[in-house]
């Protein structure tokens, strides 16, 4: 039974890879293979590559100093942060908010089996993210430090310990979020604020990482001794990866005990939380006259309401709203120093800095992907826009408009800040303002295009279209690729055109691509939406 439930959940997560919702049939073997290869490339290439680079940077120096344990401690810390951060809302929504909880609870399935299947699902997804850091960590260590049986077995034990710890942490945090959510009003906004605080802390350390790594490598012996002295447990934890059998045994046993404890807590509370409607104070309806809106404005308001109603939607698809103004402020504060450094670094590629600034802003704006899951989020309510007297293209335009409004405004601020601090001609400054705005408009249309081509309409947990859908992955990572591509081209050959002509060409290409995609959305895309 556990396997049947797990299969159902995994199938739901990866449904988009195997099933074509538009054609209402399984994808061809070729298409499935292509989607899976793309997914693996994304996980291994992008995330795995990033952590392989970090492992290479840390491993050699720390192993040479005989501080293998510190290497494992640091890398595992990063993996735990990555896995737990990605899984908290997954465990909260997957355990307690799944729409099929009532159905499964009504079937002759023991509650612990349902809980077990849900937890296994959270474990596998968490492990998938954590593995992108843990596997490079282990492989790099085995290559640099040599392979022995103890290192391999203990390394695998470390993998199990860290992934299980991520599961436990996600469960405890998810359980806390669920408990708090039962008592909160405006829970989506509060959840977003708390999450943003975490993200702020994460990025603070992320931007300080280089200084931190440099400092750590220079003073590794001092820090190492301090950790050993004050947090001996952490030292022993790091020793697991270096092949310490006893440390591996102790932590495996501790993990098993913690698992048992968390299981008991969840088993006791699962039914109560999963079936609770939450104590929400009943709002009294007071009749008031509302101003009549045009159909488009009504659709737009509905889309804004949808975005603001879900913390998962805001956090996974709207981080650019905050990152762009933050980047603008940072540029105003640190811009002149940054420009000096960049001009020095790229001295052999004249005019690279404006292009680099544009690419940076475009990459940040790709973190706004609200258009990509917008069609999928209609889910079972799709009959509403389809039966209303509004053209399908108007529905799609309202969805795209939310993305445009929420991206163009912060982008305009960030681009103006970039232009202000850039020591360049007026022409280039104008282009530094214009090009990212054009790109932001293009990315909104691109997100809608991808979302319409790969809809996931049958879901029991809204995180499926928001976080796990192919459309969002393509919009996010494809967006990064499309925003960095011009930068690569500039370094290859574009510098011969000079920054002004290159930026103008870049803006023109994306403007044309955006117009073409919008025309497709208004015609064939609208027809596809009507036929969904």
């Amino acid at each position: 039974m556990l396997w049947v439930l797990l299969k159902k959940q995994i199938a739901e997560v990866f449904r988009g890879y195997f099933y074509d919702s538009k054609k209402n049939r399984m994808r061809s073997k070729g298409a499935i293979a292509a989607y899976l290869v793309f997914f693996v490339l994304l996980m291994v290439g992008v995330l795995g590559g990033m952590f392989a680079g970090l492992s290479l940077q840390l491993c050699g120096s720390l192993v040479a100093l005989g501080m293998d344990w510190l290497y494992f401690l640091l890398m595992c810390g990063i993996a735990i942060l990555l896995g737990a951060f990605g899984s908290v809302f997954n465990s909260y929504s997957g355990l307690y908010l799944a729409k099929d909880n009532d159905l499964l609870l009504s079937l002759p399935i023991p509650v612990r089996t349902i809980l077990g299947a849900r937890l296994l699902n959270v474990y596998l997804l968490g492990a998938m993210y954590t593995a992108t850091a843990l596997i490079p960590m282990l492989v790099v260590y085995w290559v640099v430090g040599g392979v022995t049986a103890a290192k391999v077995v203990c390394g695998l034990a470390l993998f199990v310990i860290v992934t299980v710890f991520v599961l436990l942490l996600s469960c405890v945090l998810g359980w806390a979020v669920a408990k708090i959510s039962l008592r909160l009003k405006n829970k989506s906004f509060i959840t977003v604020l708390v999450s943003l605080a975490f993200i702020g802390i994460y990025y603070f350390f992320y931007f300080k990482a280089n200084d931190f790594i440099r400092d750590l490598i220079l003073n590794a012996d001092v820090y190492g001794e301090q950790i050993k002295g004050t947090a001996y447990g952490l030292y022993r934890f790091g020793q697991i990866g270096a092949g310490d059998w006893s440390a591996a045994g102790i932590f495996l046993a501790a993990m098993a005990a913690a698992c048992l404890l968390v299981w008991r807590v969840l088993e006791r509370s699962f039914l109560k939380i999963a079936t609770a409607s939450g104590h929400v104070e009943k709002k009294r309806y007071v009749e008031k006259t509302v101003r009549q809106k045009t159909p488009f404005r009504a659709l737009l308001a509905k889309e804004f309401g949808r975005f603001a109603s879900s913390s998962g939607y805001m956090l996974n698809c709207g981080l650019g709203i905050l990152f762009l103004p933050a980047a603008g402020v940072l540029l105003l504060l640190k811009g002149p120093e940054l420009m000096d450094v960049l001009n020095m670094v790229f001295a052999n590629r004249p005019g690279a800095v404006p292009v680099l600034l544009c690419a940076m802003l475009c990459t940040m704006s790709s973190m706004n992907d609200m258009a990509a899951p917008a069609v999928s989020l209609e889910g079972k309510s799709l009959w509403i826009p389809q039966s209303l007297p509004v053209e399908p293209k108007t529905v799609l335009r309202a969805k795209t408009a939310v993305h445009l409004i929420l991206t163009l405004l912060p982008m305009a601020f960030a681009a103006v800040c970039a232009a202000l601090v850039l020591p360049a001609s007026t022409e280039i400054r104008l282009l530094v303002c214009l090009t990212p705005l054009v790109y932001a408009a293009f990315s909104a249309v691109f997100g809608m295009f991808v979302g319409l081509r790969m809809p996931v309409l049958h879901w029991t947990n809204e995180m499926a279209p928001i976080k796990q859908s192919g459309a969002v992955a393509i919009a996010l990572f494809g967006g990064w690729g499309l925003s960095l591509l011009p930068l690569g081209l500039y370094f290859l050959a574009g510098y011969r055109l000079g920054p002004a002509a290159f930026l103008g060409l870049w803006a023109l290409v994306y403007a044309l691509a955006g117009v073409l995609l919008q025309r497709w959305l208004d015609t064939r895309g609208a027809a596809e939406f009507a036929a969904l």
């Binding site: 709002k283 009504a298 309401g305 079972k380 009959w383 039966s387 007297p389 036929a531």
Partner: protein, 235 residues
């Protein structure tokens, strides 16, 4: 009011609706009955412009649904078999959203919302999020939303499912009033007693094909509708 001519809709190799023709006139309550999977919902979804059909023609007030779907939809209201509404909205926000899309002026919508919400005893819950509504409350909200723009033609798929006896009674009264004012109603149901008492005309569909249609007297004669339906099913 609603004219369906030679409607055919296929899913893969299966013909869900096969050459079906129906004509619903102003003032008529038209019942649509058939076994599960007979093609009722497919016909209804095609008639309201949600499903694209393979062959045939559907016209509403003389306008082709294919040629001018927006004009047709303005005259229509649809209530699906399952009221999957926008759960992130409150009841009142949903009603205002529907009113905006149908361009119902503020004062008119306010009066209608007040009237229908009072009828269905939903006034006190309009500020609540739809996610907190029971199935019956969602169904009531879907009914109010359907009546909000005073459509000429109302199409409903199993409208009584989930409604309590009082609300069912009220809905039947509203349906009759709507048709007395010159509107028309086309609805599917499995409750044959309701169809027999409420409908002016009835159509029976089996395996996608129309097997009988006409006034209640023409279809059932001296027998009960249930007896006729079971007889036809047994053939």
């Amino acid at each position: 009011m609603l004219k369906i001519e030679h409607l055919t809709k296929t899913y893969g190799d299966k013909k869900a609706v096969d050459d079906l023709s129906l004509h619903i006139l102003p003032g008529e309550i038209f019942g649509f009955i058939g076994h599960n999977g007979a093609g009722k919902s497919t016909t209804i979804k095609s008639a309201v412009g949600i499903l694209q059909f393979d062959a045939g023609e559907i016209t509403i007030n003389g306008t082709s649904l294919r040629a001018d779907p927006l004009r047709c939809k303005r005259d229509l209201a649809y209530i699906p078999d399952n009221p999957d509404l926008y759960e992130f909205m409150s009841g009142i926000k949903y009603l205002n959203f529907i009113a905006d899309v149908f361009c119902v002026p503020s004062d008119v919508r306010q009066e209608r919302i007040r009237r229908y919400a009072e009828i269905f005893e939903l006034s006190g819950d309009l500020a609540q999020p739809i996610s907190a509504y029971s199935h019956g409350m969602k169904q009531k909200l879907a009914v109010i939303a359907a009546w909000l723009h005073d459509p000429k033609m109302i199409v409903m798929d199993e409208p009584f499912v989930g409604l309590d006896p009082k609300a069912s009674h009220l809905l039947k009264e509203m349906m009759r009033e709507h048709c007395d004012r010159g509107g028309a109603i086309f609805f599917s149901t499995h409750v044959l007693e309701v169809a027999e008492k409420l409908c002016d005309k009835v159509a029976i569909i089996r395996h996608g094909q129309l097997v009988r249609a006409g006034t209640m007297e023409e279809v059932k004669g001296d027998e009960s509708l249930e007896a006729v339906f079971l007889e036809l099913e047994a053939d």
